[in-house]
Amino acid sequence: MADHPSLSIGILITLAWRNLWRNYRRTLIMLAAIVVGVWAMILFSAMMRGMLDEMVHAGLRVLPGEAQIHHPQYRDDPSIANSLDAPQGELLQALNTPPITAWTSRVKVPGMISSERDNRGVLLLGVDPAGEIALGFQRENIVEGRFLESSEDKGIVIGRKLAERLETQLGKRVVIMSQSPDNEVVDKGVRIVGIYKARLQATEEFFVYVGRSHLQKMLLVGDQVSEIAMTADNYQDVDKWWPDIAAVAGAQTSTEPWMKLDGYLNSMLEVQGNMNIVIMVVIFMALSFGLVNTLVMAVFERIREIGLMMALGMQPLWILYQVLLESLMLLALGLVVGNLLAAITILPLESGIDISIVGEGLEMAGMGSMLYPTLAWQDMLMSTAVVLVLGLLASLFPAWRASRYNPTEALGKI
């Protein structure tokens, strides 16, 4: 006897497509469920992506820099003793070469700030204002007075909340105090020239800005700095370039990307990324029951027809393919419409959704009052993969059942 005839895909496509529309109401209801499911998956992912993006940006804005260079001991002991030389030579050249778009160096040491009424532990940031602005400090955040004008600026810029705690105000003098490399207490009286606002109260209370040269002189460290911070076009691409910077920075330094510098932010990103997949799977698993039900009903209604096709010589495997193809067509239609609907819904929202009504709570998570959903092809691809894989897996049972019928039994059914 001849081998099995080769699969005639044409007849399978014709049968699957026409069978799909035999009970068009049922098909449309199932299609609507898949469309809504796909749309919900992508919309949810876009919201999460926007939220995470905002969290990362907010995190990077606290102390800007997608990668930072420190003394190897600095992260364990952020004292002035663990300082670096200002960048020069090969490192300086690398910092001024793409993909690095901006960089700056800072003196960053713990210290005390005292007004005539109160005192607080703070992080003293000796900065070059031009470099900070290039890295993302926004002048609009200065709510009173001005930002520093140069690294020699003798003024201080403090947060709104810190001013409140110290019961001081713009124009008043405060004393900042820290330790020199010789462990001697050093201090200086400075005038408040600006007050800034931040998303987080903790930021306003903890970070104070002074001119870098001014702080270096106070701490008696010459040109030494605590950190060199740099940024490029996209924080997600940091892995592509930070190892090159680490190589030229040398073994006497420690270069780390933002994911390592802010472990909390990174683990949040990982958790949320995995949550996305879990939620997509859960949404579609719920839908799968509907899909299985639709296909089981469709197969049950056609038992005699399936028996007839088998009697006429159709291979059982082809029956299985036919039911799977029917499911694939339904899923593909749902995916196309669902993806289109998601794009139509999300693209206009990319300019931002005002969520200030729940803003207070979100601030605790490092987010602002605006949410910027982001339509990403990765999310569309992921939801497509989840729907196709789970959908076809769910369809296997009814398809297998259909292919297992005995022709005479099937022909004898109602």
Binding site: P5, I11, G313, Q315, L411
Partner: protein, 234 residues
């Protein structure tokens, strides 16, 4: 030469605690070009024998030979192939695939056989004309009368020149005029194309067309008679 032969076929069914003999040591040979009726009351075993000959149902024991193929020894997939290449079926009802047109229903078997489209079109048009349904190509089964549906089923059964056509109560759902037209069609196909027909029926009008009548009762062959028959076959 035999189109189909069965030797010592046995088949039992279980109905509650009862064991019913569907086929009880049936031995029969049907030659190519014969026009045969299997007759007998309900439950006599004629449909069971027809299903066994067509490889739709496996016997408990015995041998079935269709052409050169030992049907009782074939796997499920090989049985499907054997049916596809050698046997045409006409059932009592639900003969056509509802979502396909008359022409597509006729082409179904040829498409599964893998014949090219041009050949399928040519053969299906010719056979539709032969069974008197020219102009009905694009109608779906629901748009055809019962008699027309059976004619499409007959056209599908013979279009790929099978060794054997098995028909199970093909006239049961037809009025007398349609039934006579269908039997006349069977007869002429048998006479002109030499197609072997085995028809299970208890309809006396159908039996009148057959040249050989095999009578069954309780799963056994009780008579095997030749008659003149109204058909023009052998």
């Amino acid at each position: 030469m035999s189109a189909v032969s069965c030797k010592n076929l046995c088949k039992t069914f279980h109905q509650g605690d009862q064991i019913i003999k569907g086929l009880d040591d049936v031995t029969i040979a049907i030659n190519k070009g014969e026009f045969v009726c299997l007759s007998g009351p309900s439950g006599s075993g004629k449909t069971t024998l027809l299903n066994a000959m067509g490889g739709l149902d496996a016997p408990d024991s015995g041998e079935i030979l269709v052409g050169d193929h030992r049907v009782d020894q074939l796997s499920k997939g090989k049985l499907a192939d054997m049916r596809l290449q050698n046997i045409g079926f006409v059932f009592q009802a639900y003969n056509l695939i509802p979502v396909l047109t008359a022409q597509e229903n006729i082409e179904f078997v040829m498409q599964v056989q893998g014949l090219p489209k041009s050949e399928r079109r040519q053969k299906s048009k010719a056979i539709l004309e032969e069974v008197g349904l020219a102009g009905h190509e694009d109608r779906r089964p629901a748009q055809l009368s019962g008699g027309q549906q059976q004619r499409v089923a007959v056209a599908r059964a013979i279009v790929s020149d099978p060794t054997l056509v098995l028909a199970d109560e093909p006239t049961a759902n037809l009025d007398s005029v349609s039934a006579a037209q269908l039997m006349a069609l069977f007869s002429s196909l048998n006479a002109e194309r030499g197609v072997t027909f085995v028809i299970a029926t208890h309809d006396q009008r159908v039996m009148e067309y057959c040249r050989r009548i095999i009578r069954m009762e309780d799963g056994k062959i009780i008579a095997d008679e030749q008659q003149a028959g109204r058909g023009a076959g052998k």
